[in-house]
């Protein structure tokens, strides 16, 4: 089965990103396909390259990057939400003349159409939020 995952909240503030991650892992272990993980609202903050959580705690953004790398998962940050919240990739940096980018490996920034597409193409769309 193909899953679409929607994450509406940022790392640490809410359990949403953790629950989404654990669900995604369990689905992969059962041989399912993750069509896309789409990050919206404050969820775009999961894509930061600059987080330094305490050493004895889980590293939420890195964990997503690693899972994406291992299983070739499409992690998408919504461009509109990302722009509002200052999540910037190299293209956005040039486009909006910012002095830095901050997006983590294996995340990409794209439009809300990617969420709709996930709703259409996936067999199930699960939302994790507040």
């Amino acid at each position: 089965m193909k899953f679409g995952i929607l994450v509406n909240e940022g790392p640490y503030q809410h359990q949403a990103s953790d629950s989404a991650y654990l669900f995604t892992k369990a689905a992969l272990e059962q041989g399912h396909e993750i069509f896309r993980v789409f990050f919206y609202h404050d969820g775009v903050n999961n894509g930061t390259r600059l987080a330094t959580p305490p050493q004895d705690d889980r590293h939420i953004p890195n964990r997503w990057s690693e899972l994406a790398k291992e299983h070739k998962i499409d992690l998408v940050l919504c461009v509109a939400a990302a722009q509002r919240r200052g999540m910037v990739d190299p293209d956005e940096m040039k486009r909006h003349k910012k002095d830095a980018d901050n997006i983590a490996e294996n995340f990409r920034i794209s439009g809300l159409g990617q969420l709709i597409e996930a709703g259409i193409q996936a067999d199930r769309l699960i939302t994790f939020g507040d």
């Binding site: 509406n8 919206y40 609202h41 509109a80 939400a81 259409i120 769309l125």
Partner: protein
């Protein structure tokens, strides 16, 4: 473009709105999904329940809090072929609202009918 990715599949999308406007961004950003989603020509329904009914209240004026007044967008939805707007009667009554308080034409339905509406849709988005 993005629309071509849809490959002709039409699913019944239901957007459930349960939060008041302005105190949080959910109402505003949910509407942005609806507008972008309109290009994909799916079968779209919007449901307003609990505090979500406040999103449709008339005369919202955000000038003094200096935030974007996106409430006018609800009136423009029909231009995007998003015409199925349902509001839960019980949520309205609990909040002392009547049809006259609302800024757009909606169907006010009971919990029982809202229950059926939820069952009938395939992809349900919550914000």
């Amino acid at each position: 473009m993005e629309e071509e990715l849809a490959s002709g599949v039409v699913k019944k999308f239901l957007y459930i709105n349960r939060r008041a406007p302005h105190g949080t961004i959910y109402a505003h950003e949910a509407l942005e999904v609806v507008l972008i989603g309109a290009a994909f020509e799916q079968d779209v329904t919007l449901a307003f329940l609990d505090d979500g009914v406040f999103q449709l209240k008339k005369n919202q004026d955000t000038a003094d809090i200096n935030t974007k007044n996106f409430s006018k967008t609800y009136g423009a939805l029909e231009m995007y072929d998003v015409e199925k707007l349902y509001v839960e009667k019980e949520s309205m009554e609990q909040r002392g609202l009547t049809k006259d308080d609302l800024s757009v034409d909606v169907k006010i339905i009971t919990s029982k009918d809202m229950q059926k509406l939820i069952e009938e849709n395939e992809v349900i988005l919550n914000f």
